[in-house]
Point group: C5
Chain length 374, copies 5
């Protein structure tokens, strides 16, 4: 039982302020990481990358307009005051900043006073199971602000492509950068699903060989993970669809083909999740069939042994009866009382008869197919 309790997927806790807390009341947790700010500023020809120290440096940096695209990349929520100042600097509504800090929110796209607020949600494969991750983006005319809870993230491929300033970054604006970030986050679902698929393959083998309780636990926890993934990816799909359908100011028409590509990826991922969900349903069928198969095996052994030996035991019981050949009082011969016992070949005959019975029964079982492995 202890093992089972350990196996149990941790129930995901919602970080939620106590009921009645004022809206937009940003609760930064005590153990929040101190913020790191990195900015990357680029145009078609050059890229400039630096780390900034605190809000004041960021403020100074932002006050100089260069006409270049800027990516302000914040890791760690720091403190309440830091988050408030950051919100003020970019004109972020308190409710939106609440969504940034209260991880984990559903992916969404929301425009407010010309600034697009995007939430991308992802899942990291860690040693202890799936771990949530959230990237919050604020996209303006020529900047992207990303805020994340932890230092490590999934965006290094974007940074590297940016450093090489290849391809589309040169010719596209901040909206393409936002797309690149969201698409990279989305891409991380592929290896996660690939691993889940392998796990399901292993489970199928295990369930066929031995329908154990722990295998069942794994199927059920995988089902739960798939449900979580489905919900997240479905929201991602909705987000990309919203961007495609709405005419957000900062998303240029020529960037929509990229958004549509991400949308297609969501559909593909959802297809995958659905087919894995079907697999888990099949695994439940396999499990139940294995269990009832095992019961069948047990009962067949019992029935075969009982059916063979119970009649034999009766036969030998017959010849264990003490019907007397001679009346103890009168001494008269009781000739009808088990004369077999006194026949010279009585014993051998009985043994032979029993052998014949066993042979007949075995033939019966073979014909029933009970002696072959199912």
């Amino acid at each position: 039982m202890k093992r089972a309790a350990k196996n149990r997927t941790k129930r995901r806790k919602l970080h939620h302020a106590p009921p009645g807390t004022a809206p937009g009341n940003i609760l930064v947790r005590e153990d929040a990481l101190s913020p790191k700010i990195r900015v990357m500023e680029f145009d078609a020809v050059s890229l400039n990358e630096r780390e900034l120290n605190g809000i004041s440096e960021l403020n100074a940096f932002l006050s100089v307009s260069t006409g270049k695209i800027r990516w302000i990349d914040v890791h760690g929520f720091g403190s309440h005051s830091f988050i408030e100042q950051l919100a003020d600097l970019f004109g972020v509504h308190r409710l939106q900043m609440e969504d940034v800090v209260n991880v984990y929110q559903r992916p969404k796209a929301e425009e407010l006073s010309g600034q697009l607020f995007l939430i991308s949600r992802s899942v990291n494969e860690t040693l202890h199971g799936l771990e949530d991750a959230q990237v919050s983006l604020f996209v303006g005319e020529n900047y992207v602000l990303t805020v994340q809870e932890k230092y490590e993230d999934q965006l290094d491929p974007v940074r590297n492509r940016l450093r090489q300033l290849t391809g589309n970054f040169k010719t596209h604006g901040a909206d393409y950068l936002a797309y690149a970030i969201m698409d990279t986050v989305l891409d991380h679902f592929y290896p996660v699903l690939e691993k889940l698929g392998e796990k399901l393959d292993d489970l199928q083998d295990e369930l066929l060989a031995n329908p154990s309780r722990s295998a069942l636990d794994h199927v059920l926890s995988t089902k739960k993970e798939l449900l979580l993934l489905r919900r997240i990816i479905w929201s991602e799909r909705d987000k990309f669809n919203d961007i495609l359908r709405s005419s957000f100011k900062v998303i240029k028409e020529e960037s929509k083909i990229y958004i549509r590509d991400s949308y297609d990826h969501c559909i593909q991922l959802l297809d995958l999740v659905e087919s894995y969900r079907e697999v888990t349903a099949s695994l439940m069928d396999v499990y139940h069939s294995s269990v009832s198969n095992r019961l069948n095996q047990v009962m067949k052994v019992l029935t075969i042994i009982s059916t063979i030996f119970i009649p034999l035991t009766f036969v030998v019981g017959v010849y264990g009866m003490n019907f007397a050949p001679i009346d103890p009082e009168s001494g008269a011969t009781l000739a009808y009382n088990m004369p077999e016992l006194y026949s010279p070949y009585g014993y051998l005959s009985v043994m032979l008869i029993m052998l014949v019975m066993v042979v007949f029964q075995i033939v019966f079982f073979v014909k029933k197919g009970w002696l072959t492995k199912n």
Copy 2:
């Protein structure tokens, strides 16, 4: 059986007037609490709070226009005449007042002659299970009227924030107050769901250890509670969506971002409810698997014991047969009748043979994996 009957979740009764009762016929129950009226009147700089005694004082209070935002906060339905007068005072349609009194209604938003009628529904965790609660709101240009059945409610956090006159209350109107009330009611679903989640965790442990009938009862009653919660939250979601989509006169455009936040909370709560519903489905799987596992264990014990001892019993039965070594009449030796019985090591040989049989069978069971715990 008595225990089971006690465990049973009480079926929720609908309070409904007898068929054919005229619509808008407000049936205040005999045991309704006598009404308490508290008003809070505030603008950006000050707040004025008082308790009023009966409809006449309320009438007097309302007749003086101050330009401030007012929250008229009524607890207890009192009597039919009280409710009628209250309705007249605020120009409330009889059908709406019926919804106020006939708790519990589905959450909804309805505009009638410029006044917005809102129903918020919630659930309180009590010792005896979940208990329904309903807050009815009438929102005008510069007032909010709330009517509730009982004295205690969930709105103290709003009152306290109002008393401190912090944040948004200063700058927003009656619509923000209405939002704050509805959002606080909605927030109370979080701890309820958190408790349900813990209960499901405990049930999972219990079902794995011992698939008892009472654990099954708990799963089924939890399923029922989740269904109820889902229905209520779904209606809340619809209500907030209605407010977002419709252009109700009293809801200002800049307040909609708050409504949207509540809407997002509904979605989040529904996600949670759905994942708990999946957990209950999994628990049913665990239950059935535990039950069939237990049957398997029982049958394995039976089969092992029978398979070992039935053949042995046959063997000892054989040597319990009374085939005579000597014909009682002629006295002739019947040499083929069980000579084993008269061999010096007959007994020991038979015992040895039976030991070998047992060893073989145990090896068979070990190979089948029947002796290891499932």
Copy 3:
């Protein structure tokens, strides 16, 4: 089996003309009741109620225009010619009259040449189970024609309210009367569902105590009834929704709040039906769990008895073997052949050993929890 056959819910027969019958061909059944016509004529100040004899009197009555609202209330279809004349009198299309006579139709709302045709469907609780009822309404500017199959109906509360000429009847028109009729019909679902709920409570107790076949039959038949109710109420909901959405000429805008109230009642009823459907699903789970529990109990008894006595029987079988202590021919002592039989405490020792075996097994069963009631 006979009992089961009796228990069976009667399959509802559709009254349908043979294939290829011309549309609008009104087939009044031979055993149709002779028609009773009652008219109620009222305005804000007075009500006039009378019974009319046949179509000609009705014709005479209708030919005099009084400007009052009229309710022509027909019970019994009479004959083909009566129905035809009635249709002609009110300008009813033959297809609509077919729907009136071919009970039971789905609730619907249909406007034709300025006259609104409404079907309300209800269910009466009778001794023999649920019984369908249908009220067909034709609503004009200042009249309502209702046609029903039987004499007794559910509309007496409306008539009584009308006779007292209370409330809304004075100030509203024919549309309000139509609403009052439909709402009263709808109200009758509440007691029906309340009874079903009580029946489900009883079934739950019964299934836990004794998972009998007849209890299962009741669950299945209740499931069927719920399905029927759901279908009817769903159509009622659609009907009210149609009235709300369409702009039927005879429905005034200020009456729509009443229609919306009926619509809300439908939603509430559907919620109830859905939750009862979930209960029946849970009851099936309870049933299956009770059945497998019972099998478990049976198998446990078998296993306990077998496991205790089969080894004991083997032991006593051993000492029933006839290995001879003395060679019958040579008279030599065979000292290894069951010396226990000749030991002074042999019998007592064997009895003691068997007692110890039983104690061990009972300890094993207690530890397994097989001796406690599940």
Copy 4:
């Protein structure tokens, strides 16, 4: 097994040209019936009916315009060239003619160059199960062309009504004729469903009495038939809905009330199909419950017999032990070795004790309720 294979519902084969065949390539099967052409020409006052011989006569007939409504009624596809000429005569697109010949298509309504193409699908009850039927209609301003595969059809009631020239035929046009044909085809689902309903009733009785494999087969095949019916009627519903929603040129506004009536019939039929589908689901529950009930019965018999006799067998085994009363060597009395055997009432006491054991066990079984029929 052979029986099972026979019972199996024949899988419906799709008649489909090999992949890559050019579209509109009309493949008339070798064994197609030679075409019979009947025309009925009528107006408000008279009807003229004749049989035509081949395309040329039909061509001649059509070339004379009379202003009357014409029904050209073709049975049998004849040959490729016949079908091609027919298509040319009525200006039918090759793809549509393909749908006419490649029975069985989904019901649909399609307008092309002012001519409405309708497919009606039906099912005939035959000795060998359900048999598909398809009526293809081409409706123009003043003609209806119907094409069917076989000679016998379901349209005789329409022809008869036409011959009597009753009712609506006089006053309505070709669209009413088309409606009458489609409605008659649709009507034939009622008796089919009525038969299915009776079959389900019988199956329920059979399953309760004896949950045999063949009854299960019948349930599963009925489920399949219901699925087929549902799909067809659903498409019919869509077709009538299309006609109602679209403004096809040949369908006059005043005919739509008839189409709406057919639409209502579809809904009614679908309701029926759905409720039968629920019944089959219930029957599966009944089957599974009967099977597990039977297993329960079997196990109870085994357990009762075993539980009564295994302990008794142990008792008699005890007194079959050979513990010697006298040491064979020393002749000493072994007083503790089974003195019961030498007590005057030993045998009777043991018999009595066993009787008491049996009585106790029977009381136990009665209390458990195992001796009463479930």
Copy 5:
């Protein structure tokens, strides 16, 4: 277990670039086939077909405008540079070319700068199960470019019809050619589904005869294949629907009737898939019923044998008891100790009594129906 592992349907791997790869980064696999280019150029009177060697020849071919319709038919992706040049030549967006190369994508229709991009997905029946296939089409005013991964494809029927220049090719443009290609691909689902149907028939026979694990595996893998087919055909349906609804520049209005025909085929295929999915669900029912039937059979054999022989064994055990007729010490006659043993017909009477018992039991079993095959 090995067998099971082999039976397992290979999980379909997604070819997906590592997360964070730049979009439109076309990854041609190392082992891609070298490209073969065939062009077919035709108008109403003549067709010209040739094979081109590499991009340069293709470039030259395209640079000469002839006003004819051209089909550029590319097999094999060759290398990255080949694909890039091909994209440049036809003005294909990099993201679209990524979809061409990263097989297998969902079917879709996408217009970009006047060129329509279509993906058709199909499935080939091979020896090793179903194998995916994808045809990517780019359709312009007077050309169709198809790109496929492998040399062999399903389009030979189109080429042959084109070579004969029959029917619609003469009069229709590039859009008809694109339709012909997509329709041919779609047609290949028919034989695949036909085979699946036959497989399901065989499985049903097998499951009834012997509910083996491998048959279950086949059902589950068939279920998976049907799921895959459903997903693909559903997307095909969406694609054709998109073409019908959107007004893509290159699709002429008169070609839409053909697209609609393909759309109808999709619906028909989906109907088929759905009915097969129902069949697999029924097969699961059959499987479970066969398994529980088999367990029933096993238990019946056990119960019959036990019930007959256990009481008999008790009876013979009674007469194997050693109650002494004479007190060994006093020599007194113990007349109540088993006098039957000394009656002349004791043995015969006991044998007779047992025979009667067996007869009674057999009568009981016959009445219960346990001796007839289920």
